[in-house]
Amino acid sequence: MSALAWFRSVAAKLFRPSEITEETDAELRSHIQLRADDLQRSGLPHAEAERRARIEFGGYQRYREESHQALGGNLIETSLQDLRYSLRVLRKSPGFLFAAVTTLALAIGANAVVFGIMDGLVLRLLNVPQAQTLYGTEYGADPGFQSYPNYLDLRDRNHSFENLAAFKMVFTGLDTGSNPVSTAGYATSGNYFDVLRLQPSLGRFFHPSDERGPNSAPYMVLTWAYWHSHFHDDRGVVGRIVQLDKHPFTIIGVGPPGFHGTLLFVSPDFFMPIVNQQQVDGENLLDARGSTMGIFEAFGHLKPGVTLGQATADVNSVGAYLAKTHPEDFGQKNVLLGRTGLASFDGAVREFTAALMLLAGLVLLAACANLGGLFAARAADRSREVALRLALGSSRTRILRQLLTEAVIISIIGAAVGLLGSVVLLRRISEWQPFPGANLNLPVAPDAKIYFVAVALALLSGFLFGIVPVRQVLRADPYEIVKAGSSARLGRRITLRDLLLILQIALCAVLVTSSMVAVRGLIRSLHANFGFEPRNVMLVNTNMAMAGYTGDQIPAMQKRMVAAMQTIPGVERVGLVNNYPPLVYTAAFRAKIFKEDATDLKPSNAAANPFGYQVSPEYFEAAATSLLAGRDFTWHDGKSAPRVAVVNREFAGEIFGSPANAVGRYFKLQDGTRVLIVGVVENGKYLSLTEDQAPAFFLSFLQVPAVQSMLVVRSNRDPQQLTAAIRSQLHDLDAGLPAQIDTWNNFLDVVMFPARVATMALGVMGLIGGMLSIIGIFGMAAYSVSKRLRELGIRIALGAQRTEVLQTALGRAVKLLAIGSVTGLILGLLATRVLASIVYGATPRDPVVLAGVVVAMALLGLVATWIPAQRALSLDPLILLREE
């Protein structure tokens, strides 16, 4: 019964709050009226009776509220009241609201995005069952387990993995009846899907039982995404026969949705058995034990109870056995096991996300300092209001609760705005396809975890800084404050607020400094000497295997392509390079080379480990790589001619002392071939922009043919016209040969990617830092001007000059800005060392950066103090003094 009554009263409160309030008011007023009637009857005049009645009643608002509470449901009711009141108050101070919300939104947004990236790239595992026990061998430049025979040995000899699967990437022409299109796939071991414990969404997968020797399993499994986009969910696709590089393959199944292969960044279009790799690669890469091209990564589930350390030791003991058994082919190195999917990028990705987290943390810290300052200033501003409310009988808890409500409202709005921005940004990132011809797969979809983190961060920082004014409220003596008025003290000592502002500006200066260092590094790397000139060059990527060429047909066709390009009007030079030219797809091959007199050609006796390229005559001219000594290749350096090489300056210097000395000398390849050096070219960059200068050598492509090559076409013509002309020439030569055509600069995007992303991230963080410091300084300056309006008015009335007024009004803000900036600059320069690993040429001792930071912070200060300064200068002492 009483519970029912309680519910009724709560429900009544919730659903008819205004009615209840009116009723309570009516009752309390009726009480006062009845009392006044009595007093009047006892002889008091009407007005006096009413006054006495009200006094005797006591604090009307207080009892009204307490009555409310007694009626139940009051927590919600008072919270709603707090909410309404807070919203009203906030609406009245839009400047504060805007500053606080922007600060929070920036910090929350930045952190949500960075957390999303970390979640997608580091925390989240591959989208396969039990991914947490899946580990793989790390890819490396030395022949480790990167050959098929070594993989087989590792698979059969290890004791740590339940089973071991392997894959390599293949790039093929897929012909479904019309013109062939370029596709990228995985050639995998037969047990690939079994090891991953996956089930097909359609048809079947291939298994070890399908492998019966070379080219015995012409099957392919499509990824769900490729099936969806290119076969339009056609369930009849299973059993269809298509051509991969002119070889018939049967589509036997479609993978599960959401499975993008076992590399985090690049999605394949299909899977095929690795035993058929010769058909799509054009050459057999499976038999050579010393090859690094057979296997990209071998991986499997660790057996239950086996630790990562035990597994690594086990794998390395197999490696030691292989190095002993096959010394000529197996350069022993310590293999590290990494999380499948990240294999070769694990370290870099972790470093990158850790650096981002650090920066985002700094942003958050700066934002918190900013909020702290804002709230503290506001609390000081409102001390009079709080005092009045206390004096009128409001309880301290009630006032605190209301202040916290304000903080929470700001947090929630800030979080909402920040989250909205971050969701948009993360969506963009996950759909991002920055590279031509590669399916980038960045699984950074915003999910519940990210929302949770953002809201938690927002509430935490909101509460933390909503509490700043609490001390002031609790200590407040209403009488003193009301008496003293708002322009009470002019503090000269350093306050908490000053410290917060210095801290915040210092953090922001760190961000601004790092972003400037990064931007400067990127600009420098764009203008660095690559050892070739990528401007005005078109690259044409073809794979002869895709059109079914074999043996001697390959160089003959490639020669015809070069000749065809030369006939295009406006084309200056045409060269050709096997595989990829320098800095394309961060793919380059290193070879062990030996001195001429070396007899034991095992890896440990190598004289150098240079990058190796195979190029056509005129390649150096097409690439604008200058020849320092000797001669270029000619079309006579063919199969039957003596083997010749062109080396770079570093190679010549390292082995022969000087470029001039090298010409006419010999070195040996690992297979024992003697090679004559006929020319020396300038140094360059080969694999990455940040690499140390490495040796490199070039062989004649006629002497070392390869199916995959890139034409290097130099021309001043408009890229689009040129592309069309190249396409039509190729079409005339062989209509069935897919070609990927793009500018060299566009292909450089991949190698620029880390620097670009880092610069972009740092740039954004720097921008956020700059905005935060503007808000912080603006808040501080505006506050100090508004606090001292009267003083400034008196000064102006007494004849102060404009500069003196400005100094009084803003001197302190400017001083804090200077201290903070210098601190931040020094910290930022120290942090630059960390940047050096990602950003090319990041150096702290760069006068441009130093000057840039100083100018940037000064500009920020100017922007932030402009409005307060204008306000201080436009003061009219007459109006001001009259008002106060």
Binding site: A5, W6, S9, E27, L34, G58, Y63
Partner: protein, 113 residues
């Protein structure tokens, strides 16, 4: 102050129940009745009555309805519910027991211990 006792916590509720048990009353009437029956020995600020009244309503001990006062003012009248009458009896007994016990304890002489 010596002639007027500050009200003991918890006793206001009982006094209200007592006042209302003698017949329906509006808030101001409750106040007058308490002053009357306690010989003006109990002192509360007038407004403090209402949170207590509302609490009792919420507990289901009192019910309220609007009516007209003796001098034709609109006022809200309170009366006991069945639960209220029961609670009033219990609390009265409890209070009497406590008061008797306290009285005899305070009257005790040294030799009786």
């Amino acid at each position: 102050m010596s002639g007027e006792a500050q009200i003991l916590p918890g006793t206001l509720d009982l006094l209200i129940l007592k006042a209302v048990s003698l017949g329906p009353l509006h808030g101001y009437g409750v106040l007058l009745r308490i002053g009357q029956i306690s010989d003006s020995a109990l002192l509360i600020e007038q407004g403090a009555l209402y949170p207590a009244l509302f609490r009792l309503v919420r507990q289901g001990l009192l019910k309220a309805s609007w009516g007209t006062s003796e001098n034709n003012r609109r006022a809200k009248f309170y009366e006991l519910t069945a639960a209220g009458r029961k609670r009033f009896r219990e609390e009265t007994e409890g209070w009497n027991r406590l008061a008797t016990a306290m009285a005899s304890a305070l009257a005790a002489q040294a030799e009786e211990v």
